[in-house]
Subunit: 380 residues, 2 copies
Amino acid sequence: MSDMAFRVTQSPEGTAARRGVLTTPHGIVNTPAFMSVGTKATVKTMAPDELRACGAEIVLANTYHLFLRPGHELIAAAGGLHGFMAWDGPVLTDSGGFQVFSLAASRKLTEEGAEFRSAIDGAKLMLSPEKATEVQNALGADIIMMFDECAPHPSDRSYVADSMERTLRWAERCIAAHTREDQQLFGIVQGGMYEDLRQMSAERTVALDFPGYAIGGLGVGEEKPLLYDMVAHTAPLLPADRPRYLMGIGTPEDILHAVRCGVDMFDCVLPTRNARHGFLWTSTGPVRIRNAQYREDLTPLDAACDCSTCTRFTRAYLRHLYVEQEVLAARLLTNHNLHFYLHMMLGVRDALSVGDAAALSSPAEALFLRGIATKEKGRP
Amino acid sequence: MSDMAFRVTQSPEGTAARRGVLTTPHGIVNTPAFMSVGTKATVKTMAPDELRACGAEIVLANTYHLFLRPGHELIAAAGGLHGFMAWDGPVLTDSGGFQVFSLAASRKLTEEGAEFRSAIDGAKLMLSPEKATEVQNALGADIIMMFDECAPHPSDRSYVADSMERTLRWAERCIAAHTREDQQLFGIVQGGMYEDLRQMSAERTVALDFPGYAIGGLGVGEEKPLLYDMVAHTAPLLPADRPRYLMGIGTPEDILHAVRCGVDMFDCVLPTRNARHGFLWTSTGPVRIRNAQYREDLTPLDAACDCSTCTRFTRAYLRHLYVEQEVLAARLLTNHNLHFYLHMMLGVRDALSVGDAAALSSPAEALFLRGIATKEKGRP
């Protein structure tokens, strides 16, 4: 584990937030980090060099989708995800648990694992702690996740407690099944929206001594204040010397909240999915590019942004491409949103480096440190 | 016209093919040239810098589509097509004639022009020699095309003769309507599949002294031998000191045939459209990437090709992306096909520079000169 250590480098007074460095066989990840989601071994619309240019240091891929098609054996033969998708930086795979349990109607949960039918050909498939670990060992990511159950919300306390116990048993089976020294296997804390179950889950998961810990089971339909409370409650239960990963969250504001709670790693489909739906984050607020007000707007999407979309194209052109459903629209808008997220994280890390905790209060404050928001807008 | 002259630089013995240089306000175009089709002010899936990297020197945009949406006024306000689409090289626009006449059921043809209903909002619109020229003046391309009628195939001789006469009258009206000294207005030869009408159309169009001439009305459903005959018949009727442009043609083999007949400029949607349908040209023959034989094929799409698709990704990965309908598939495959076409044209120009007319006999022969086909395959 020595070559994959996590090190907290700065932890300013007055905030639980910390800056760190996660070392993997494919390079380091500066934290707090946002991981771009490459579900099917491609961050939708983006080429690997463009991800780098946006500031990406690590990408995430989804075990469930890749297990179904094209299959982990092929990806292993191609040199793992790194070789297959020609991304030579760090990769994290989820375990498939979240996706399987989202198929509520068509899967069957047992102590063994989850049986489900392939959405592609109807074949009966099983993901279990052992299978999910085997598949992830084959996919070859630098960080892999234990197979857990993500309880729906709302759920009875007794259901969540049983589910949490099963997830803890599965955690031990994942550790036993994991075979590759060059992959870090992270544990996942569950416990639904119950603070005592979260605490029990955290304590007993930490007792298994994973090199990193995720907070799972959030962003499943709960109200925002509840999400924020659960993050604030759970993050400090995790050891300070291991990376903390909040799965599947969220908006820029959600991420900043979690950073302030001491979370180090994030992933979310919002920047890429919203871009494809014409919703853009900018330093001066959201832009829905389809709106008629941008029809003749010959200014950049975000005048303060130095991404390859904003430095080359106008809102009028982006709107035209979007209205015409041109592929270039999805590309250019995705590029901008990822740049926004990744440069907000750069600003967060800058803020932690210089001990400027106030810059963690809003996206514009964080971006201001990168020169991607004006003083007027960024420091009202 | 002095800054937009066409100059034939090499014209080897034993072939009508010639190498030339077309000078425009946005740079030179080396001929024979293939123009990538950017119908809606975007070469589908491609960013401008990627077109350059593929070897593109000029792109084509479609007046009909841009007239309908977003409108030529907006594009003029954005600095013309060059500013709007952020392509600083030469641009050519067609006149919209071909698209309007393809709407056979819903347009009405008069001496004035063509009335049609907008496919977007049903509005009644008119394109005429004057309107098409005005719109193209606003779009601001370096080369614009006269408004012509493209007769369907098959058509009676009398219909084609009448249509040709009207197109000749329209040619004079386009010249009268054209207002910009920095745009070259090209004439178009019609005459259907009738050699004598082609000859009459060529002679009378040439008498109007355009700076360049297109061969229109081909690729409209005729058999390949007839297309080839009509190109061979018409090209030599056009003046040797002006560029000759074969509109909307074709496959690599079609283009090489026309090059051998003395044609200088080409455009076609085949490389981009076929790429999106998973059909790729390679130095060793066509590849339909969806085919199961490529599922586990960890070799490049074209081992001899140095495009950014072939140097980074495997057939197995491209097939995966294609099967999953990922945007990156359309991008990477389009990139390869355009690189194939544009590097074939580079090979053609190399062949003409060194007087190697034999290298014009097949795509592999032309690519061999660029190192993009092996000696074994390229020179069987």
